[in-house]
């Protein structure tokens, strides 16, 4: 009889206890992974949203711009420098932009907005504003019209549930409404007919047009074709004012940006703020934005620009968001800590019970000549097997959920969605695909297990055979 056979048989002699122990490890790892995946997925999405819709990975700025943003700390981009920066292997383009504040008015409504001036063609190398143009929208009119169409039950309910939402692709619209690929062919023309939304992106060379965020469009009740007024303060205290025709509406992922977003061509923005040739910053579009490569790129570019200009990465530019996420991350870690604590107590409980129940048996085994080390090995192996079964089952069970949650993120509606938006988050919870966080959860559980194993091994080595037999 081999030791591992003995351990394996021991596992199944008290089936219930083994199952309870394995199950508690299973649930610990399963819930921890799901929680972690949601959390990290949400952060990941928030970071990539803000990077791809707003800040970019790297920006070229005046050294003081980070602390005191505004045209007064702007820069004039030297074509020679641009050429040098664009020679870096990881740099795709250097795209100047103007970013400033203004008051926007349409009809009798006004709203403080953020005005971005971009070179329409080149901008898309760094950001994807162009791909965010709203083409379909469940406007009140559209929802009314769809009601008259006798849609299948669930679909009719969903159109009301998601009323007001805007989409760039028909596919997104279908997926949110819960229409399967199979049914889409039949329903698409009808949906197109009622929900299409006009508008297009800016083009280079034209003047007097603006793209606005979907939230701002709702608030100002301004749709493509309407005119908005922008009033602000220009370079060196001049006053800035202009009239712009809304050319398109974009759906920005971050509600805070979406409610305040106005985009002009760079030339229009320079004209508005009375700052010809200037930019507040330049986005450096790069190919690989992973942490290590980014840091290296930032260092290389920093050497090229010298001290007159600074190269900032997205973390420096979004310090507030990062802080917010880190605080949230800590509270999440505490939750998981509590979960593990509960599980650790459960595992210890069963271990204690097992040790007490088998005391006589251990005494007998050592009496007839089994070395304590060997006995400890068998018992340790039993516990390891129990734990590993739980860990493997937990990891496997989490995978389909995590993959599904990644491909089709959970989307909140109604009250919950409003709450999320009030906090400045998009009401979407994507899950992060397995990554190092999986490893960490497994390591933590195995550590708890190791402590329990060490505890029982110690107990075996301290076993007094005589007392164990008398028990």
């Amino acid at each position: 009889m081999k030791d591992r056979q003995l351990a394996w048989r021991n596992l199944w002699r008290n089936r219930k206890r083994t199952l309870i122990t394995a199950a508690s490890v299973f649930f610990a790892i399963f819930f921890a992974l799901i929680m972690r995946s949601f959390q990290l997925g949400t952060y990941d999405k928030m970071y990539s949203d803000v990077i791809r819709s707003y800040s970019g990975y790297l920006q070229l700025q005046h050294p003081s711009y980070l602390d005191e943003p505004g045209l007064d700390n702007g820069l004039i981009l030297d074509p020679e420098l641009t050429r040098k920066l664009e020679q870096d292997p990881n740099v795709e383009a250097v795209v100047p932009r103007i970013e400033s504040f203004a008051l926007a008015a349409a009809g009798n409504r006004t709203q403080g907005v953020m005005v971005i001036g971009v070179e329409p063609e080149r901008e898309s190398k760094a950001l994807n504003i162009r791909n965010r143009i709203v083409r379909y929208k469940l406007t009140p009119g559209a929802v009314e019209a769809l009601k008259g169409e006798e849609l299948p039950g669930r679909l009719a309910k969903n159109t009301e549930l998601f009323a007001g939402e805007a989409f760039t692709e028909a596919e997104d619209l279908m997926s949110v409404l819960g229409i399967s690929k199979k049914d889409s062919a039949g329903l698409l023309p009808l949906l197109r007919n009622h929900t299409s939304f006009p508008g297009s992106y800016l083009s280079a060379g034209e003047s007097g047009y603006a793209i606005i965020g979907n939230g701002l469009s709702d608030y100002l009740e301004a749709v493509p074709g309407d005119t908005i007024v922008l009033i602000g303060q220009g370079y060196h205290g001049t006053s800035a004012a202009g009239l712009y025709v809304v050319k398109g509406v974009v759906s920005m992922p971050n509600p805070e940006i979406d409610n305040r977003f106005v985009c002009l061509t760079l030339d229009d923005a320079r004209w508005l703020y009375g700052a010809p040739d200037m930019a507040t910053s330049a986005i450096i579009a790069i190919k690989d934005g992973s942490d290590k490569v980014l840091t290296a790129t930032q260092q290389r570019l920093g050497a090229v620009t010298g001290e007159d200009l600074a190269v900032r990465n997205w973390k420096e530019m979004n310090a507030l968001l990062l802080n917010q996420m880190e605080a949230d991350n800590r509270s999440g870690a505490i939750m998981i800590g509590i979960l593990y604590l509960v599980i650790a107590f459960g595992v210890f409980g069963t271990v204690l019970m097992m040790m007490a129940e088998r005391r006589r048996e251990f005494g007998m085994l050592v009496s007839i000549g089994m070395r304590k080390g060997r006995l400890a090995g068998i018992v340790g192996l039993e516990m390891l097997l129990m734990g590993v079964i739980g860990v493997i089952a937990g990891v496997i069970a989490s995978l389909p959920i995590v993959f599904l949650g990644h491909l089709r993120p959970l989307r909140f509606t109604g009250e919950m969605a409003r709450m999320y938006e009030d906090y400045g988050f998009e009401p979407v919870m994507p899950m992060l695909l397995p990554d190092t966080y999986y490893l960490w959860q497994v390591v933590v559980v195995l550590l708890i297990l190791a402590v329990a194993i060490a505890f029982s091994i110690r107990k075996i080595f301290k076993l007094n055979v005589i007392n164990a037999l008398r028990a």
């Binding site: 009496s367 007839i368 000549g369 070395r371």
Partner: protein, 231 residues
């Protein structure tokens, strides 16, 4: 030839506030082929004495020599190996490993001793036959009666041919018929394998079957008689 020599052995417990002299100056020896029983009322020191002989515990003073080994000179881990190699144990109850079959239990110490598989299997078969359980090779302990379990325990203790077998009240949990059967088997093995048996009891029926009766009282040997009945 002496298998066990006990010289002026004392064992004192200080666990409670009062000092208990569980074994109080015992000098005894056992020879090969003995079929000896230690009797005495509960608390007279039978278990303690057997534990000392078997190397499960060390005397407070005095010397125990088993098959040439001075037990007081052995370290704890050496004592475990000593027990595995030289002593067969049968306890009052809970002798067997619950997850092993009867045959695997009988083979257990032989496999600790690393006997080759064929020899081990042959010996296991021979002994299960001898204890009347030839048809129960694959039964788990929970599928055997108390008497059958004790017979498997005797077979396991005997299998690797130890110097002697120590059995502490082996019949205490058995009905009288099973007790008789167990004693018949022990007697037979004592004869056929020339195995030395040292066991304890406070059961008069068991006492009558022994060829040597040692009586303990308060940790002292008060009589040591050899009888010559039944052979």
């Amino acid at each position: 030839m002496n298998v066990v020599e006990i010289n002026d052995v004392y064992k004192t417990y200080h666990d409670t506030e009062v000092e208990v002299r569980a074994v109080n100056g015992v000098t005894l020896s056992f020879t090969k082929g003995d079929f000896a029983v230690i009797v005495g009322p509960s608390g007279s020191g039978k278990t303690t004495l057997l534990n000392l002989i078997g190397g499960l515990d060390q005397p407070t003073t005095g010397e125990i020599i088993v098959a040439g080994h001075r037990l007081s000179e052995l370290k704890p881990s050496e004592l475990i190996d000593f027990r595995m190699e030289h002593v067969g144990f049968v306890f009052q109850s809970y002798n067997l490993i619950p997850v092993l079959t009867a045959a695997e239990n009988v083979g257990f110490i032989m496999s600790l001793q690393k006997w080759p598989k064929e020899k081990r299997m042959a010996r296991t078969g021979e002994l299960l036959e001898a204890v009347g359980l030839a048809d129960r090779h694959n039964s788990r302990p929970s599928q055997l009666s108390g008497g059958q379990q004790q017979r498997v325990a005797v077979a396991r203790a005997l299998a690797p041919r130890p110097e002697f077998i120590l059995a502490d009240e082996p019949t205490a949990n058995l009905d009288s018929k099973s007790a008789e059967t167990l004693l018949d088997i022990m007697e037979k093995l004592n004869r056929e394998e020339e195995m030395t048996f040292i066991f304890s009891t406070h059961d008069a029926r068991v006492m009558k079957r022994a060829r040597r009766v040692i009586t303990l009282e308060d940790g002292k040997v008060v009589s040591d008689e050899r009888t010559n009945h039944r052979e």
